[in-house]
Amino acid sequence: MYRYDEFDAAFVRERVEQFRHQVERRLSGELNEDQFKPLRLMNGLYLQLHAYMLRIAVPYGTLAARQLRMLAHIARKYDKGYGHFTTRQNLQFNWPKLKDVPDILAELATVEMHAIQTSGNCIRNVTADHFAGAAADEVEDPRPVAEIIRQWSSLHPEFSFLPRKFKIAVSGAAADRAALRFHDLAVEIVKNGAGETGYRIYVGGGMGRTPYINYVVGDFVAKPDLLSFLEAVMRVYNEEGRRDNIFKARIKILAHTLGQEEMCKRIAREFAEIKASGTLQLPAEEIARIQAYFAPPAFEDLSDEMPRGDADFEAWKKTNLHPHRAPGYAIATISLKPIGGVPGDCSADQLNALADLMDCFGLGEIRVSHEQNLVLPHVRQKDLPAIHARLKELSLATANAGLVTDIIACPGLDYCDLANARSIPVAQAIATRLAPRQNEIGELKIKISGCINACGHHHAGHIGILGVDKKGVEFYQLQLGGSAAQDAAIGEIMGPGLGAHEIVDAVERVVETYLSLRRNGERFLDTYRRVGAEPFKNMIYREQLHAAH
């Protein structure tokens, strides 16, 4: 993984001191809240329902053991002993004090971590396929590209006061595990007819109040041109993105208002000039230099020999492993969705234990997925039983990756100042209800958001649930048929919101409808696409009690 040189390290240290000074100026009143808010947001600090919340960047979801240990230390020293992994591969602490945040950031800097630009109207954490460098279907590891973009976007002088936030994702495989199509900008590493590797660039995706799937603006951008092209996109957005209406300010609105042809034209004009100036061209040596940081570990010469074990291990193998490109290896998903637990949460003790486990088995990296789980990318198959046993002791061995109980949920009204409804208890109730049938049901991705900001990515859920507020009471809207993979789709709203006491039953009825209609073991998503919304709508509202509001 990337290691800071002295300049990177100085950058992060100075940023901490800059923020420390900003906090002092806020506490002294030199800055008022209106002036301070964008500054603290650019260091990932929110003010939430109960307390401040600090969002720590995990660039392209990659962490080393020593970083896990530091996160555990911060959780204990400054917070309440746990953290929450998010749908953008970051980690959130829910209880830091403003006056402690500079110290927290200073400690993070010692392990090459920070909270730079995890919020604010700027370029956010660059996410990538959590199976990067390991998956069998990979064209090229997306993380060097993500690291190059991360550096270029850090405290970019021109693009720190954008109309709105800007999210970038990178993938290097045929299967899209990074939810590319829902990002403001996405980079897909592809090969052209001549066998050369380059980048397909998409622009204009997003969740939120008006979800959009992005479209191609650069079919094959040559490697040296990457940053020149991205700078062109950002300039068009910064100049022309709407600033009159916060709900129309994302690039998705600009992209779909201008249309693909006009958007491409404007980007092309900027790109031509920037490329001609030469200042952002990427020499092959630079790309190679960054790539060298992401060289995979030296794989041993092994053959595929999946060990067998007890019923728990066998069940876990079936759901939580993914094929690795090196024989004798596997990619293991650590589910952070224990049945009835809080999705995505991880205690300080668990973080420490995972760090120890990594050291014990010689695992240099762990990944955070945008589905709020953790991933060990390079595990020897013969180590799997021992690792599973250890995970079991840590309550991290839930065998449900991708199943109906592997629910993505934002923090919701239990934590978040922006939320309209709670999401975690909905996830807990659904998981508890459907756990006994999860294997029978198969792949079914439920995503829950507590408000229209869609941090739970509900638009991309096979079943998506959006919490809404009707006169101070929690209601839940159901969407079916969304997908965040390469077959990207926005879920269709089924009808009026359902009450808190109805939503779990409604989801169960959706599942039962699927099971009754499914053919040849097809997934829920495939059944839905084949039969359409009607059968599901009818079942959802069959017994509905509409409260008269």
Binding site: D5, F7, D8, A10, F11, E14, R15, E17, Q18, H21, Q22, E30, Q35, P38, L39, N121, Q151, W152, S154, L155, H156, P157, E158, F159, S160, F161, L162, R235, N238, E239, R243, E273, S277, T279, L280, E286
Partner: protein, 166 residues
């Protein structure tokens, strides 16, 4: 309102002329609207001319006349509106503008370094921002990742320079 130019306190020799008001003698700043309407008269005057651009006004509207302007004022009506950062970049690159680019309005100390990097070389700041604060703001980050109008070496370049055989 102190004016800082090229890192030191400077005198503001330009007068602002509102739309419809008679032009004073000497260096004057007019709105884009006025410039486009009275272009010939303004350019014929024997005194330096400046144009004030609102956040939504692109310098491209000035066309080739941009080279004849001594001063362009970029208004920051709300500090959150970051369009002017791109206008400054555009002035220095596409439009090859060599005159003074001045930021005025609702400017946060914490934006000054960014402004300086995109090619803004003069600052009309709220009274509470002192020269000392200005200089401190510019010095807070010694290293940068992106090439920009200020020509500073990027971290990548510094790293390369370091690793060259001596």
């Amino acid at each position: 309102m102190p004016l800082i130019r090229n890192g030191v306190l400077a005198e503001n020799i330009f007068a602002d002329a509102a739309d419809g008001q008679p032009l004073p003698d000497g260096p004057v700043i007019v709105s884009l609207k006025r410039f486009l309407a009275e272009r010939d008269t303004l350019l014929a005057r024997n005194a330096p001319l400046g144009v004030r651009l609102k956040s939504e006004e692109s310098p491209e509207a000035l066309g080739e006349d941009v080279a004849r302007l001594k001063l362009i004022v970029l208004e920051f009506l709300k500090f959150r509106d970051g369009r002017a950062f791109s206008w400054a970049r555009m002035l220095r690159t596409r439009l090859n503008y060599r005159g003074e680019i001045r930021a005025a309005g609702d400017v946060l100390t914490d934006q000054l370094a960014f402004m300086h990097r995109v090619g803004i070389d003069a600052f009309q700041l709220p009274d509470k921002i002192t020269l000392e604060m200005f200089r401190r703001a510019l010095d807070e980050m010694s290293n940068v990742y992106q090439p920009s109008a200020d020509g500073r070496k990027t971290i990548r370049e510094l790293h390369l320079y370091q690793s060259l055989p001596r």
